[in-house]
């Protein structure tokens, strides 16, 4: 018998084995996955994708807009200063109280809020919208790889990636190998068995590369996480079946992501996916399903900061969603698919404490198609600035390779510390 592969043990020790909830109620935790890739240097970049369309007007209420309260009706938050009011940002915009940990980051100059922002996608399908957010061009089917993978292709050095989650999100798919990685409840495999399997998979265009990357990811995990528990032993039939566990907060995966990113030779780019934002009905205001999701997000981002430790100083976290939601409340106490919304940059490398928004207004004639917050900033502009100022990619290559045909989205500079 060869050495028992310890990928499981490594993450099991790290996360207490709590990842990977499926059947649990109030059902799932957020659909979480993390992917990471190694770069040279100290800079860390994390993208958090909020799947399902975050209601930007709930997360970042434009409380001073004269039409806000009228249109949002029962979903409007009270102004800052009043009981249960929004947390003030700059006299015009506030944060949902459930985002209090982010408000602290904002006040510490480590978070910038973007509003009336959108990808170039202008229809209202989640699935196409997410594809456009991730492929970095104007249409869902125009490119089948992700802009972050193309960015990685421009970065030198070791580029092995990792993903917590069983598959790799589109944003990280492409020519540059990126592994995915997650703790599971099944014990590890014998190394000899895996190498025999690798021979069988040699000619399989899908299974072959996936297995090779999985074995590499294992090696990287061992290195990044230190000596894992090795006494996993042979699995037995009884151990195959796992108990159902409770819902999984984002904090759990964010902590792992932070540890992997903080390690000296660890990952430098990561992607986390958080689901549950499609609030069509009864989304609530101060409390309720959306407030719970926001609190989970804020707790997750705070956990990421904590586990990054000193590396937070060199970190940019971008939080984005596929589109915003309707300005007006729909007939069922929720909001339907919209256009413009909110996004965030956080991290020690961010010149924060600012709201960047060319506010279009909420009057009837100011709304996009009479119903949505009109976008005045292209999300790609923000991301271009991060790739240039944080990861040091040449502007020309960003325009040509990462975000082709994006002249309408000029690079937004000065969002980061020099």
């Amino acid at each position: 018998m060869g050495k028992t592969i310890t990928r499981r043990a490594a993450l099991g020790g790290l996360l207490g084995g709590t990842l990977g909830c499926g059947l649990c109620g109030p059902l799932f935790g957020p659909g979480l996955s993390l992917a990471a890739a190694r770069l040279g240097g100290e800079a860390r970049f994390v993208v958090v994708i909020l799947r399902g369309a975050l209601d930007g007007l709930a997360a970042v209420p434009p409380y001073a807009d004269p039409d806000y309260r009228r249109l949002r009706g029962p979903l409007a938050l009270a102004a800052p200063g009043s009981a249960d009011g929004a947390l003030d940002l700059n006299g015009r915009f506030g944060l949902h109280p459930a985002l209090a940990p982010l408000h602290a980051m904002y006040r510490a100059g480590e978070m910038t809020v973007f509003h009336a922002v959108a990808t170039p996608y202008r229809s209202r399908s989640h699935f196409d919208g997410q594809d456009v957010l991730e492929n970095g061009v104007t249409s869902a089917r125009a490119l089948k790889d992700g802009w972050l993978n193309r960015a990685l292709s421009l970065l030198g050095g070791e580029r092995l990636g990792l993903a917590v989650g069983q598959s790799i999100p589109l944003i990280l798919r492409g020519d540059i190998p990126v592994a995915s990685w997650a703790p599971a409840d099944m014990p590890g495999l014998d190394g000899d068995f895996l190498s025999r399997l690798a021979t069988l998979y040699e000619r399989d265009a899908i299974l072959g590369p996936a297995l090779a990357q999985g074995r590499q990811a294992q090696a990287m995990a061992d290195e990044a996480l230190g000596d894992p528990r090795r006494a996993q032993g042979r699995m037995s039939g009884e151990k195959v079946y796992v108990a159902n566990r409770g819902p999984q907060p984002m904090r759990v995966v964010a902590e792992a992501a932070g540890r992997l990113l903080a390690a000296e030779n660890g990952a430098r780019v990561a992607v986390l996916e958080v689901g549950g934002w499609d609030t069509h009905a009864n989304q609530g205001v101060l409390n309720g399903p959306l407030a719970n999701r926001l609190a989970d997000l804020a707790g997750g981002l705070k956990a990421l900061q904590d586990s990054l430790g000193p590396a937070w100083r060199h970190t940019v976290v971008a939080v984005a969603t596929e589109f915003g939601r309707t300005v007006a409340v729909n007939g069922t106490g929720g909001t339907d698919h919209g256009t413009g919304g909110a996004a965030f940059l956080l991290g020690g490398a961010v010149t924060g404490g600012r709201v960047i928004a060319r506010w279009p207004g909420l009057a009837a004639n100011q709304l996009y198609e009479g119903r949505d917050l009109a976008p005045t900033l292209d999300l790609r502009s923000v991301m271009k600035g991060v790739l240039s100022d944080h990861l040091g990619l040449p502007a020309e290559a960003i325009e040509r390779v990462v975000f082709p045909d994006s002249r309408e989205a000029p690079m937004l500079r000065d969002t980061l510390r020099a």
Binding site: L27, I168, L200, A217, H280, G331, E369
Partner: protein
């Protein structure tokens, strides 16, 4: 090469070979599949005694009316979750034990096309019933009947919110200050019928949502509580304009007219044909096959028996390469069929979750993905190998590797695979190698 054709029949159209199934299919692989389409539909015994959708919906409505939110949460926790576990286990058992696996594949295909997901807790009590009541009886009927059954089922009406969508100018909407919810209307157009490029606009979504107001369930105080009910009092009055034509005013007839229009629309034919070809032929299905299937859909007015036969008749569907990767559920089912693991129970659900595909738990209304790249990452491939090993160790004492090999992948196995199985250091690893082999992971 009848054994190769039999392999394709029982894997590409079926759920993987149970012992003896390859030989039975080898006599007439095409006929083996086609006969299942026309077999009289009978409900598999494993589903006996499971509750109906309307009855569980009524339980929910009564709990909410009598005991409020706390009562609803308690119902979900103490009852709906158990219903779900029983439903998911029964479904697995049916897939493992079925002698009509092509028919089960069709049920699963349409169930995924019209996804309801337990990501919303209320669906825990309804998802199994939805597949059994709305999908299963209609997979060899007309597409319009299937679509209509789906849209009227309490699971779909709740999952995509239509049950609580009010016409803003209806008496009920005005009285209660409630209005539209676009969710179901949009997903019918985008996911169930025309497809995202099917040529509809935001205005069409909105108008369709108005048309569908009133499609809901009978309220708790009604003897028919939980059953489909067209509630006139919340239906948006007046005529609507949908896809450039005037619809109504005609109450429930408006929705029925639009569903019929959608079922007959060429974009729907194309959308369905593409998804079927992707499911049964290849991740990037050949354009010619899509075209032929779309034509049959149009020419037969959405006759799903004819369409299912046509899928089996596509020459591309008998390609000897194995272009499709099994989903986690298909992978587990194939392995359990190979070893005749009958009586699969709730204890298997953890495995399906760990491998990434628990029944009725798709991540969104778009359903489970149907391309290999969405399923296989470095982590997933290791998990499958681990489960193969666990199964191998578990069954080696009672199943002979050589016989398992002959009964499953031998007709298409590469020499290297056959050698690796025969030379494995133990019987357990031999079976593990068989299940992990590319020939077993593909179909």
């Amino acid at each position: 090469m009848t054994t190769r054709a039999a392999f394709i029949a029982v894997n590409r159209f079926g759920l993987g070979a149970r012992p003896g199934e390859l030989e039975r299919a080898a006599r007439d692989p095409v006929g083996w599949a086609k006969r299942q389409i026309h077999a009289p539909p009978s409900l598999p015994a494993a589903f006996a005694g499971l509750p109906s959708g309307p009855s569980r919906m009524a339980d929910f409505l009564h709990a909410r009316q009598r005991r409020g939110d706390g009562g609803v949460q308690q119902l979900f926790r103490e009852s709906f979750r158990q219903t779900f576990r029983e439903e998911a286990a029964a479904r697995l058992r049916v897939h493992v034990e079925s002698e009509m696996p092509f028919r089960e594949r069709l049920v699963a295909f349409w169930s995924n096309h019209f996804t309801v997901s337990v990501q919303r807790p209320i669906v825990l009590g309804l998802a199994g019933a939805f597949e059994r009541e709305a999908i299963r009886p209609n997979v060899a009927g007309r597409f319009l009947d299937l679509l209509t059954a789906v849209v009227r089922h309490p699971a779909m009406l709740t999952y995509l919110d239509n049950g609580q969508s009010f016409g803003p100018n209806s008496p009920g909407g005005l009285r209660r200050g409630r209005g539209l919810n676009e969710n179901l209307a949009r997903e019918i157009l985008e996911l169930h019928t025309l497809g995202v490029e099917g040529g509809y606009t935001q205005d069409d979504v909105r108008e369709f949502a108005k048309i569908l107001t009133g499609w809901t369930m009978a309220p708790p105080e009604d003897p028919q509580a939980g059953h489909f009910r067209f509630a006139v009092g919340i239906h948006e009055p007046g005529a609507k304009t949908f896809l450039g034509r005037r619809v109504g005013p005609g109450l429930i007839n408006e929705g029925e007219e639009v569903l019929a229009l959608l079922a007959r629309h060429p974009a729907t034919a194309r959308h369905i044909a593409t998804k079927l070809a992707r499911h049964f032929i290849a991740d990037n299905p050949p354009a010619a096959a899509i075209e032929r299937l779309a034509r049959i859909f149009r020419d037969t007015d959405g006759n799903l028996a004819a369409l299912s036969e046509a899928i089996v008749e596509q020459p591309e569907a008998w390609d000897e390469a194995l272009p499709k990767l099994r989903t986690p559920h298909e992978f587990v089912v194939a392995a359990l069929r190979a070893v005749e693991f009958n009586g699969a129970g709730e204890s298997m659900l953890g495995t399906l979750r760990t491998l990434g595909q628990l029944s009725f738990a798709a991540p969104s209304p778009a359903g489970w993905p149907d391309t290999a790249e969405r399923w296989i990452g470095p982590e997933a491939v290791l998990r499958r190998a681990e489960w193969a090993m666990a199964m191998g160790l578990r069954v080696a004492a009672i199943r002979e590797p050589r016989q398992l090999f002959a009964g499953t992948i031998e007709p298409v196995a590469a020499r290297s695979t056959a050698l690796a199985i025969s030379r494995a250091p133990s019987a357990g690893e031999a079976v593990a190698t068989l299940f992990a082999a590319p020939e077993f992971q593909r179909r």
